[in-house]
């Protein structure tokens, strides 16, 4: 029996279909898992607490402000950055005033009338997303900036994580 002899190089083509299938599946996976709202959070080492409630999605109208505080005393709010850890009290005060200005500005951009209760208190909560190692006084200063008579943000949230020893973690 004569064996088939391949004389010409055949136009061998790779079958692309499985690769394209997989690629589309990957795209779908990433589209479903992406959470752009997490972009507001800076990478910090959060404290853990057993009493923390589940962080659920909230009403878009009163979407919270996230104030990040890193371990070195830097505050990140929206695109602003303030350093509370300066040695000079004057610079620290400037940073707090700047944070108050930023809060005031961002709040007014979202619509003052809609976001205020009858007594003038803001409906918008502020989440303090602070590093475990950040000095407590900086957190207090942020709280005081929020409660300033011009700003009147009284609803606070402290970002925490599930204790590592808790079941299900």
């Amino acid at each position: 029996m004569a064996a088939k002899v391949i004389t010409d190089t055949e136009d061998a083509k790779m079958n692309m279909t499985p690769m394209i299938d997989m690629t589309f599946l990957l795209v779908v996976f990433f589209m479903l898992t992406i959470d752009l709202s997490q972009k507001e959070f800076f990478p910090v080492d959060l404290p853990f607490a057993t009493t923390g409630v589940e962080d659920k999605e909230e009403d878009d109208e009163v979407r919270r402000f996230v104030i990040n505080l890193t371990g070195d005393g830097t505050v990140h709010f929206k695109s602003y950055e303030f350093n509370l850890a300066s040695e000079d009290p004057g610079e620290q005060d400037d940073a707090i005033q700047a944070l108050q200005d930023a809060l005031r500005q961002v709040h007014s951009e979202r619509g003052e009338i809609l976001l205020r209760e009858k007594d003038g208190a803001s409906k918008v909560p502020v989440m303090i997303h602070a590093d475990w190692g950040a000095k407590w006084k900086y957190v207090q200063w942020i709280m005081q900036a929020c409660a300033h008579p011009d700003i009147k943000i009284y609803k606070l949230q402290f970002a925490v994580k599930k204790p590592p020893t808790e079941k299900g973690s």
Binding site: K39, A49, G52, V53, W136, M143, C146, I153, K155
Partner: protein, 194 residues
């Protein structure tokens, strides 16, 4: 004159641009992928009537539990630690050493935290029992007096806050460092001093 039509070629769609785009999408999603880091939060409400006021004084017979925290600083930050006192008791409790933000969570460290916090919780529960009222009626005070209190890590304060919340106390007062003086206040003080 009839022109013979060429035989239909094996026409295939050019997939290359689509694959290019799809790969770019994957790279975008890969780079922007960040799994949810926070899953919990502690809800809180600042007092509307005295947000910036000095610490109010409560009557002596007012039911309260006060936890005082201050920081023992060391040249080596990893050896610094937080000390805690409850009410006027002499005994002090020491939280695990180190600057938590710069240390990895080890099970020993977490166990050490749990041990101190469980002790605090049992003491607070005893005090609540002695008071006799419901936990909501008892005010919790977390005092971090300046300058050493201001340096207590946020995580340690959250742990103390967590103890109060675990036993059902929800009215918590924070007492601590005032904000730095404003430029006008500094100027007034300087003028007054000269």
């Amino acid at each position: 004159m009839a022109v013979p039509l060429p035989e239909p070629e094996d026409t295939e769609m050019n997939m290359t641009p689509m694959i290019d785009i799809v790969f770019q999408l994957i790279i975008f999603f890969l780079l922007s992928l960040k799994f949810k880091t926070i899953d919990r939060r502690i809800e809180s409400m600042l007092p509307k009537d005295r947000g910036l006021a000095p610490t109010p004084t409560f009557p002596e017979d007012f039911l309260k539990v006060k936890i005082k925290a201050f920081r023992r600083d060391m040249a080596d930050k990893e050896k610094a630690y937080t000390m805690i006192k409850i009410d006027n008791e002499k005994k002090q409790y020491v939280l695990p050493k180190g600057w938590k933000g710069r240390l990895k969570e080890s099970s020993d460290r977490i166990d050490a935290y749990d041990k101190v916090m469980n002790t605090l919780k049992s003491i607070v529960l005893k005090k609540l029992k002695a008071h006799g009222g419901s936990p909501e009626e008892v005010k919790g005070e977390i005092v971090a007096p300046p300058p050493k209190g201001g340096a207590v890590p946020h995580g340690d304060i959250v742990q103390i806050l967590n103890v109060f919340l675990e036993v059902g106390m929800t009215d918590i007062v924070f007492e601590g460092a005032a904000t730095p003086l404003t430029s006008s206040e500094r100027a007034a003080r300087a003028a007054g001093g000269s």
